[in-house]
């Protein structure tokens, strides 16, 4: 039997793509076909606007590892795609991938988008990955997002270092685990860090009016 069509076989050798040997995202092979298609759509969209697509694939892999339903996975990936875009926009200009990921985490737990912008304004030239992580963890511990955001950005504006923000988070974690109410723990520990910082140059927009 013959093949009744015109064959055009390219005789040009295909040069291999030099693989960039950094982190390569791979979707788990057990992914449902619907999940795969949904992830592909999100990856195409992310790629077209320069968002870190590996985070979307990682989210899908997390869902697969946790045996989530395909619908839950596709919903989670789509929602993450939106959060990444918001985070990137609020943390402009040129946020790093770590910052975008951290910003998306913060949004995930209910931190208002405009807080990310304020944090960028407080630290225009330093990575926000750790402060965002601290903020996210405080909110995860039960603090109202506005309250936690206000405290963290206030400390950042007053000159707190990453080490101090890190120790704030660790201390609040410990206090909550020991039975303290989250707000009480945050108030106590923030005062401790504040006492080490130079006084505010002028009335801060974020100063809690109830503080003595």
């Amino acid at each position: 039997m013959t093949l009744r069509r015109l064959f055009l076989i390219s005789l040009v050798p295909c040069a291999t793509v030099s693989v960039a040997h950094g982190q390569v995202a791979r979707l788990d092979a057990t992914a449902d076909a619907g999940v795969r298609r949904a992830v592909e759509r999100e990856v195409i969209a992310a790629r077209s606007i320069g968002l870190p697509e590996r985070l979307l694939i990682a989210k899908a892999n997390e869902g697969i590892a946790k045996r989530a339903t395909p619908k839950r996975i596709t919903d989670a990936v789509a929602a993450l795609g939106k959060r990444l875009q918001v985070a990137r926009d609020q943390l402009a200009p040129n946020p790093s991938e770590d910052e975008i990921a951290a910003g998306a985490d913060a949004l995930y737990l209910g931190v208002p988008a405009h807080i990310l912008k304020k944090m960028r304004a407080a630290w225009p030239n330093r990575s926000l990955a750790l402060p965002l992580g601290v903020l996210t963890e405080l909110v995860a511990k039960g603090l109202p997002a506005d309250r936690a955001a206000r405290t963290v950005t206030d400390l950042m504006t007053r000159g707190a270092t990453n080490v101090q923000l890190y120790s704030l988070a660790q201390s609040v974690q410990g206090d909550v685990a020991a039975g303290w109410a989250p707000e009480a723990a945050l108030d106590l520990r923030a005062r401790g860090v504040m006492s080490l910082l130079p006084p505010a140059p002028a009335a801060s927009a974020f100063t809690n009016p109830r503080r003595p």
């Binding site: 039997m1 013959t2 093949l3 064959f7 076989i9 005789l11 050798p13 295909c14 040069a15 291999t16 030099s18 693989v19 040997h21 950094g22 982190q23 390569v24 995202a25 791979r26 590996r54 694939i57 990682a58 989210k59 892999n61 997390e62 869902g63 697969i64 590892a65 946790k66 989530a68 839950r72 996975i73 919903d75 989670a76 929602a79 770590d98 990921a101 951290a102 985490d105 995930y108 737990l109 330093r126 990575s127 990955a129 750790l130 965002l132 992580g133 601290v134 996210t136 963890e137 995860a140 990453n162 080490v163 890190y166 988070a169 660790q170 974690q173 410990g174 685990a177 020991a178 039975g179």
Partner: protein, 195 residues
């Protein structure tokens, strides 16, 4: 000549044969790898898992130059009830010694450990390895039932878990847990310090 090699098979084979993947960089990498390599040298240290062997990032080399690392000490795996029930109120958190890195952008090496005498394999899964169960296996320690791995992590908040024997999802008994709003299964949380 094979009887089955008719024109269709010949065309298909020719199409497959005509495709050539040339990679001068890969060739150079092979030659660089074997340069000065003694033959029949049995290396006591096994290569790291595949993603690291090809992803030789500069950050790994930089991490090796750092003064110390954050260590999470191994402890007995608590029984399931205690683990699933959260951290008892009387429990104190470990004090993690802080380490200054030489540059804000450099990741810090972080050691993850678990003690589980029943496990035959343990993998670390998290946001830093795409939740891949094959990317970061823990290695057994000299003391039976102890497992550990050290990997570089960027500053900030990370979520992770252990996957035991390929199927049991386990949070780190010495770490904080985080609710999972997407999939309903808690993760462990770690904040990696930065200067």
């Amino acid at each position: 000549m094979d009887a089955e090699r008719d024109d269709i098979i010949e065309q298909a084979a020719a199409a497959l044969r005509h495709r050539q993947w040339r990679s001068p960089r890969a060739i150079a990498r092979i030659l660089a790898t074997v340069e000065g390599r003694p033959r029949r040298w049995w290396r006591a240290v096994t290569w790291p898992s595949a993603p690291f062997s090809l992803a030789a990032t500069g950050s790994l080399a930089a991490a090796a130059l750092l003064l110390g690392f954050l260590t999470r000490q191994a402890t007995d795996r608590p029984d399931n009830q205690r683990q699933l029930g959260g951290i008892p109120a009387a429990r104190t958190l470990p004090v993690l010694p802080a380490v200054r890195s030489t540059g804000e952008a450099l990741p810090l090496p972080v050691q993850f450990t678990l003690r589980d005498v029943q496990a035959s394999q343990v993998a670390l899964v998290g946001d830093f390895n795409g939740w891949s169960s094959a990317a970061t296996p823990l290695e057994p320690g000299e003391v039976p039932g102890t497992w550990s791995v050290t990997i570089p992590l960027s500053a900030g908040r990370h979520v992770y878990a252990f996957l035991v024997d390929g199927k049991t999802w386990m949070t780190d008994p010495r770490a904080q847990t985080a609710r999972d709003l997407d999939f309903g299964r808690a993760n462990s949380v770690l904040i990696v310090q930065a200067p």
